[in-house]
Amino acid sequence: MGNPMKIRAANKDGVTEVKVLVSHEMETGQRKDSAGAIVPAWFITELVAKHGDKTVLNCEFGPSVSKNPYLAFKFKGGAKGEKVIVSWKDNKGDSRTDEAAIG
């Protein structure tokens, strides 16, 4: 399940800016451990952000997105108190969903 994400969403002049921090190792599959063995790739492949029921961003990540991924984007609309919901899943099949109210 991983640790909770940190989602910030703020509406200004009719545009909602969303900033997301995700807790994830994002292993490339190219790093070796201290014993010289390859550390298997482990990374988020897909992330979806929704405003209520409506998808506002659909992301696909490769392993070169940094550890603890950060994402910032803007969409038209959104009002104080409405929800932004973010879900991700990784290449091991793990997933997580968190939400935040627009401030």
């Binding site: 659909n58 696909e60 910032a72 899943k89």
Partner: protein, 155 residues
């Protein structure tokens, strides 16, 4: 006997109900996401990546910007973004020429989402970063070099 039969019936109908709900889209296993573009993320060169994304040979555009610093103190975390003033942008992607696989991330932007996305990527070495943008049914591109320095000890 009777009891057992009833249990089987009960669990049987339970499973059937679950199946029906899933088929009707009322419940979904996990989260419903689009298919990850394996071919594009597995591609090594810029040309192969663009091909896998269906982008062909995008034209350079002044209306596309790669945002980020000229110098990154550490290649493990390099803040980069894509912004564009082109109309009807439905997709943007970030490509790093000298990484083992060029494609770092791609974003599908539904109507109403601005063509302005920022994230952080890993860079193995100093490289050109390409921002790919799909506007209408055409692809456009912009580039910026980001230098990766070898740091000191990092206070």
């Amino acid at each position: 006997m009777n009891n057992q039969r009833r249990t089987v019936l009960k669990s049987g109908s339970g499973a059937a109900l679950l199946g029906m709900l899933a088929a009707a889209g009322i419940i979904t296993p996990g989260i419903a996401l689009a298919d990850w573009n394996k071919a594009a993320f597995d591609a090594k060169s810029m040309a192969d990546t663009l091909k896998a994304l269906g982008a062909g040979q995008p034209a350079d555009s002044k209306d596309v910007q790669v945002t980020g610093p000229d110098i990154a103190e550490n290649g493990a975390v390099v803040p980069v973004g894509v912004a564009s003033s082109l109309p009807n942008v439905s997709m943007v992607a970030i490509l790093i020429e000298k990484n083992p696989n060029a494609l770092a991330a791609s974003f599908v932007l539904p109507e109403g989402t601005e063509a302005n996305v920022q994230t952080r990527v890993k860079m193995g070495q100093t490289s050109n970063i390409y921002a790919l943008v799909k506007s209408g049914d055409k692809f456009f591109m912009a580039t910026k070099e980001i230098k990766v320095t070898l740091g000191g000890c990092g206070g």
